[in-house]
């Protein structure tokens, strides 16, 4: 019962990882709660602070209240700079 977490760009470099599988059992978490778990895992790394990152759930832009559960794909990344 895992949830897939992805990191991109600067975030990926700062956290030294681009993806991880997180066992969440059958819990339903908000993005905010998921972020707290990640902050524990990454020693409160500043790269994971809300103000510095955007979040997408299942490839759609999401926010701190969006609910996630096992099977979901959650991505954290900096503001986009394409084009």
């Amino acid at each position: 019962m895992t949830l897939r977490v992805l990191f991109f760009a600067r975030l990926k470099e700062q956290l030294h990882t681009d993806k991880l599988e997180l066992d969440v059992g059958d819990a339903i978490l908000s993005v905010s709660e998921l972020r707290k778990r990640l902050l524990v895992m990454f020693d409160n790394h500043e790269a994971l602070q809300v103000t510095r990152t955007l979040v997408a759930v299942n490839q759609q832009m999401a926010n701190e209240e969006t609910q996630v559960t096992a099977g979901d794909e959650v991505a954290f990344f900096p503001p986009v700079t394409g084009g």
Binding site: L6, F8, A9, R10, A56, Q59, Q60, M61, A75, F77, P78, P79, V80, T81, G82, G83
Partner: protein
């Protein structure tokens, strides 16, 4: 004003031909009198550091989905017919083509507005990230507030 042409969306490491893309847009399209194309290129930033290349990272899957959504929104809003969005990823040299947006419409202002709208939304919503490669190293490009302002103007009255 038909809006049933499926957008052409391409995220690729390969270069593209503006001539070929333009041809695709106009072929057998006798109702559409106006074509507007935008091409973005890697340019030497006006600044203190000399750029040698650009590296473009993206979020596979979400990127294509997001570009398709932007293209369809523009088609509907501006009554466009055909739309093409191509965005390159990977390492790009100075003066290389990065992005192509091409649209067709019965009327020229709709075509100008449609392409302009797509670029503004692509810049602020599509999950791409640019890293500048300099002679001294590399650095991620920061998002620009002017791009956010440009995208926001489409929410106001026209």
């Amino acid at each position: 004003m038909t809006t049933d042409s499926a957008p052409r969306i391409l995220v690729t490491e390969s270069d593209f031909s503006v001539g070929n893309e333009h041809q695709r847009l106009i072929e057998n399209n006798p109702q559409q009198g106006a074509v507007v194309c935008f091409t973005g290129l890697v340019r030497e930033m006006a600044g203190d550091v000399s750029l040698t290349a650009l590296h473009l990272e993206h979020y596979p899957g979400m990127t294509e989905r997001c570009l398709l959504d932007i293209a369809q929104t523009a088609q509907q809003r501006f009554g466009l017919d055909r739309t093409t969005i191509i965005h390159r990823v990977g390492t790009l040299a100075l003066n290389a083509q990065i992005v192509f947006v091409g649209v067709t419409s019965a009327h020229r202002q709709a075509a100008f507005d449609g392409a302009n709208f797509i670029m503004d939304y692509l810049k602020t919503q599509a999950p791409f990230w640019k890293k500048e490669i300099h002679t001294q190293g590399h650095s991620w490009v920061d998002a620009k507030e002017t791009d956010n302002l440009a995208a926001r103007r489409w929410n106001q009255s026209e």
